[in-house]
Symmetry: C2
Subunit: 297 residues, 2 copies
């Protein structure tokens, strides 16, 4: 990677029913001057056109799980999304030598995750950018996935720099104007930051960054046939990023019994009741809260 | 129709991604004693099994628009949902001589419609039932569609008695425990009411009923290609059933201009930002509020 950030790609529609990113990218395509910054070449990409047209997350397979290097190199994988991933990797990658310096992938979630930044890696550049953004808006939170690096199968992993932005709660197939505007502001803050860095300007970075580090996912209680036996407990619904302690209710069975969280450590669940994760067997993702010093990274 | 209500059918999964009704019906199928009432034969139906399996509203066509008499009689209509509608009509209908005395069809919406009762017709029986339910829970509201009769193409139209229950706001593909429990309570109140009527018991009915009568639907502003040019205004989002007056903001364009409601009469929008209605060209449905005397119906 060069010392300067040049090529920035704003991606929407990696999931075809997450309209926030799709309509923001369409807006940027209609008004490209909005993305102009003196030191940047900023382009846009609608990642999954067939899924967007069908208003579905994907046609054959989740595109945002198709970017593992071994899958990209496997000619036997020929589903619509596998082919699309190879096209996008040819355009923006390869991971070892990305053509895009920074990738920003715009998503939404039915979980109440506000404006969540998922950095593409723990590269100090990403952490400083995330810290800068978190000073601008209290809704901004920063979360590192289990694979917070280029081994991840997400589109964002095509470059070590950049992030996914997850906004919610937003229902699939719906545009929420408030969240669309907040996401747009975040994109502009990111571009302004990148441009300032290129120009050697110092923007205020706090000395440390609060990161929610994913530790595990939890499935819904199911019977032997895989059918759901319980739902997210009403006390936990929409409580993403709030502490979950030993004995707190987690699920409610259809017959009315509460299932409690059991664990010595307080955790901070996210992606609570994300619609697209029922099929992935994820009712929520548990995180630990960490404080990362930005002076030592 | 006989003087007594005997056969009651609780329907879920008319739309395959509205999980509230689907999981309630599955619960009733697992625990049928929950539906037992001395004077009733209560059965359940999962209306669109393929759409439920696919977690999509429908496979080929919206099943809840396939029940117009002319469509049911048209052998040229052979989509999955058309065939399914004919099977269901054979099972519960025909409309002229229904085998089901009362049909309760359980739906959810991404609009903030609380617990909405959409009576199958303005039959006094339905209005009294709706009035009874509205006394039990302030979240219950009663709405009559443009075709509030058996000419409607909805599944509920197979019988003059009964209703659709619309609960929300709930994202597609998500179970919201609170709303699931509230919907279940409503089903039990309905069955208790039907059983009481059969047994000649008087349940308290208020002298009048507030009804939101649909007058028109409003599409999103679109360009010549049909692309959206605006979204629901943040001031209107989740404000179903609240008054919308001349000059109130209705839409917000992607470039930030507000589009105002213009009309002499105050209206009460519902189905605001329903995900499934983008393709039907409905941004919201406007209603008038009416007071119906139950002493004269």
């Amino acid at each position: 990677m060069s010392d300067l950030i040049r090529r920035v790609v704003i991606v929407g529609g990696t999931h075809g029913n997450e309209l926030t990113g799709i309509y923001l990218v369409k807006k940027f395509q209609q008004f490209p001057h909005l993305l102009h910054r003196p030191s940047l070449e900023c382009t846009t990409l609608l990642a999954n056109p067939d899924a967007i047209a069908a208003n579905r997350r994907y046609i054959d397979r989740d595109l945002n799980r198709c970017f593992a290097n071994e899958d990209l190199a496997n000619p036997a994988l020929t589903s619509y999304e596998d082919k699309r991933a190879k096209q996008i990797a040819a355009q923006l990658g390869p991971k070892s030598q990305p053509k895009a310096d920074v990738i920003i992938d715009l998503h939404s979630t039915t979980a109440n995750m506000g404006l969540t930044i998922l950095p593409s890696s723990r590269h100090p550049f990403n952490l400083r950018l995330a810290a800068y953004l978190s000073t601008l808006d209290p809704l901004v939170r920063v979360c590192c996935g289990l694979q917070c690096n280029q081994d991840a199968p997400m589109l964002r992993s095509l470059s070590p720099l950049g992030c996914t932005i997850e906004v919610g709660a937003i229902a699939q197939g719906v545009i929420n104007a408030d969240y669309l505007q907040q996401t747009e502001r975040l994109v502009h803050h990111i571009l302004d930051y990148l441009d300032a860095v290129n120009q050697g300007k110092d923007l205020p970075i706090p000395p440390s960054l609060e990161v929610y580090q994913v530790i595990a996912s939890v499935d819904y209680p199911r019977n032997a046939s895989g059918d759901l036996q319980a739902m997210i407990h009403p006390h936990l619904q929409f409580k993403d990023y709030e502490p979950l302690c030993d004995g707190d209710p987690m699920f409610l069975t259809f017959t009315g019994e509460s299932i409690l969280y059991q664990g010595e450590n307080t955790v901070y669940p996210i992606f609570i009741n994300e619609a697209a994760y029922y099929e992935k067997k994820i009712a929520m993702t548990l995180t630990h809260k960490q404080q990362i010093s930005l002076e030592t990274v």
